[in-house]
């Protein structure tokens, strides 16, 4: 067994979801060594960070054309690396960037990425969600090549770096990353892929925000959030009245903002804002994972939904199952009554 984890970097730091992927890789390896892969033009500042993780070896994949992410560049570099290294498993965090290149990379090996995995079971088999979180499915790979797996944010617990993990003794980052393995330190190695400028067919701009964000939901203490269950823009006033009664900020799941019923800046979830209020009231929100990742820091979650099997009830503290058009006005009335 030879397990690799591909780490993602943002703002000069290895991301939390990368460490979660590393934890999943360690679980999968079950004691076998895990190799961490870093990509970039210069990964020097990251090598020590990577070596502090639950990994036995760090591979720095460096090329000037990897300075910025491109699907072509990443696929070429990782294809060459894994052809040389022949891993049995490659674990990646299920981020937007990974979603952009990992299935292309897997296809180049004649393999299929098992995407957005929430749990590993002996075998190994891989658990992922279907129908927007309403059902779980167990997948297995029959492939003979590397098995590519991306893991959902929050599904695996990243080990605190300073303490290492149960399967790995904490190790000091090595001072000279160019050196080969020495006793008691993690080997840090280089791989230089062959990439030509013409191989990279896309040109991407620097990231930008669409509008200056004027609503900061991240510090809101009380949030009333609405989803598809509201059915029509004309029904929005009952939600606004509830938010007013509570003195809460108004928020929504993606489809509501896509429809223009609330501005994009009030969207909560992986493509919107991450919130951590005392109270998050989810009304007519089924609870697709893209939404749940944005609210899991909430102290108390209340769900109002007609479907008792909606995934929002998996994380809600309190729930009312029924017609939101009856329950929401009743709740507004109950809150006003409690105030007086």
């Amino acid at each position: 067994m030879s397990v690799f984890v591909v780490l993602e970097v943002r703002n000069g730091k290895i991301t939390r979801s990368s460490w979660e992927a590393a934890a999943a890789a360690a679980t999968l390896a079950n004691g076998a060594p895990v190799t961490a892969v870093l990509l970039g033009a210069n990964t020097e500042p990251l090598a020590a960070q990577a070596a502090a993780g639950p990994v036995a070896r760090v591979l720095r994949v460096e090329h000037p054309l990897l300075a910025a992410y491109s699907s072509d560049g990443y696929v070429i570099a990782l294809h060459q690396l894994f052809q040389k290294e022949s891993p049995t498993h490659v674990v990646l965090p299920h981020t937007y960037q990974v979603r952009d290149f990992a299935s292309r990379l897997a296809t180049r090996f004649g393999q299929v990425l098992i995407s957005d995995v929430i749990a590993l079971e002996p075998g190994p088999t891989f658990v992922r969600q279907l129908f927007q979180g309403r059902m779980n499915a167990i997948y297995q790979s029959a492939g003979v090549g590397p098995c590519f797996v991306s893991v959902q944010a929050g599904a695996f617990r990243a080990a605190p770096l300073s303490q290492g993990t149960t399967s790995f003794v904490p190790k000091m980052p090595q001072e000279d990353p160019g050196a080969s393995a020495t006793e008691g330190s993690i080997p840090i190695e280089f791989f230089t892929p062959t990439i030509a400028p013409s191989d990279i067919r896309t040109t991407a701009s620097e990231p930008f925000r669409a509008t200056s964000q004027t609503v900061d939901l991240s510090s809101a203490q009380l949030i009333v959030s609405v989803g598809r269950g509201i059915k029509d823009a004309a029904n929005m006033p009952i939600i606004q009245q509830l938010a007013e009664a509570l003195g809460a900020e108004l928020a929504a799941s993606r489809p509501i903002c896509d429809s223009g019923w609330l501005p994009m800046e009030r969207q909560v979830g992986s493509s919107g804002q991450t919130v951590a209020p005392k109270l998050y009231l989810a009304i007519g929100i089924s609870g697709a994972i893209q939404h749940l990742v944005g609210i899991k820091g909430s102290q108390c979650i209340v769900a109002i939904n007609k479907d008792s099997n909606a995934p929002i009830f998996e994380i809600a503290d309190y729930g009312i199952i029924g017609d939101l058009f009856e329950i929401v006005p009743a709740l507004t009335a109950a809150i006003n009554a409690a105030k007086s």
Binding site: V112, N136, R254
Partner: protein
């Protein structure tokens, strides 16, 4: 500008999902079916591009694989003014993995030589989010995923290329340029979806819907990844469900939030 939009028919969003007797898939017997949401946005983007294109020969082709019922969804695309449809009739999609399905689609797309291929970002049923990206690799085309808006720059010129707005995480975006031909996977919400008009529905009946048999496409392959079983998820938290009339449940909830959760 020749655009192919690969679309998928999925169970309607509110449809009750039941596990079948074998525990391997859902019971499809009385399900209602609909066009996958992000695929509807992909179709919308394609139709807008065609309408904006200076090339009078521009066309939009909707493509889907699946059993006979998929024809209804393809007709819906034609009613929204796609020009023609290709239906890969296949009853064995459940036994194919993402690569197996993409191979079918690629075999149908390749002879058409489109300038642009659009797919939705991911399906609402399997949620793999991979078909488009795999297709790009099989067809040897550049791709970009999570696209919200598309523009053809220098349309009609040999230098024509795609400029697209790509969604990043946490409210960030970037612009990405790609040469043609290219493949884009479209995120929901980039445009306002159109409805089929009565005239559109009438016209759709006259439009070509070509039938291809999966068996004739020579795109079979043993699956690399297989779905072993499905189950209902375990609850992570025990939710206190408040019952009674709406007024009773609401009053009980306010009481709990004040005295138990202490968040009000």
């Amino acid at each position: 500008l020749k655009i192919i939009v690969a679309i998928k028919q999925v169970p309607e969003r509110d449809a009750p999902i039941r596990i079948d007797a074998a525990g391997k898939w859902i019971d499809e017997s009385d399900l209602q079916w609909a066009l996958n949401e992000s695929d509807a946005y992909a179709l919308e983007e394609a139709l807008l591009l065609k309408e904006k294109s200076a090339d009078p020969a521009s066309e939009v082709i909707v493509l889907s694989a699946g059993p006979e019922r998929v024809g209804v969804t393809l007709r819906e695309g034609l009613a929204k003014s796609a020009d023609r449809a290709i239906h890969i009739v296949a009853d064995d999609l459940a036994s194919r993995d993402a690569l197996g399905v993409a191979r079918l689609l690629a075999a149908a797309i390749a002879p058409e030589k489109p300038d642009l291929i659009l797919t939705g970002l991911q399906s609402e049923d399997l949620g793999l989010g991979q078909t488009g990206v795999i297709l790009a690799e099989l067809l040897g085309l550049p791709h970009a995923s999570l696209i919200l808006q598309v523009e053809v720059v220098a349309d009609g010129n040999p230098q024509a290329h795609i400029r697209a707005k790509r969604e990043l995480e946490e409210g960030w975006f970037q612009t990405i340029d790609l040469p043609l031909p290219a493949l884009l996977t479209i995120q929901s919400g980039g445009n306002k979806l159109r409805y089929a008009t009565l005239m559109g529905i009438k016209r759709a009946k006259m439009k070509e819907c070509r039938i291809l048999r999966a068996a004739d496409l020579a795109a079979t392959s043993a699956p690399v990844v297989t779905l072993a079983s499905v189950s209902l998820p375990h609850k992570q938290k025990s939710t206190q469900i408040l019952t009674g009339s709406p007024a009773e449940a609401a009053t009980a909830l306010v009481e709990k939030l004040k005295t138990e959760a202490r968040v009000l």
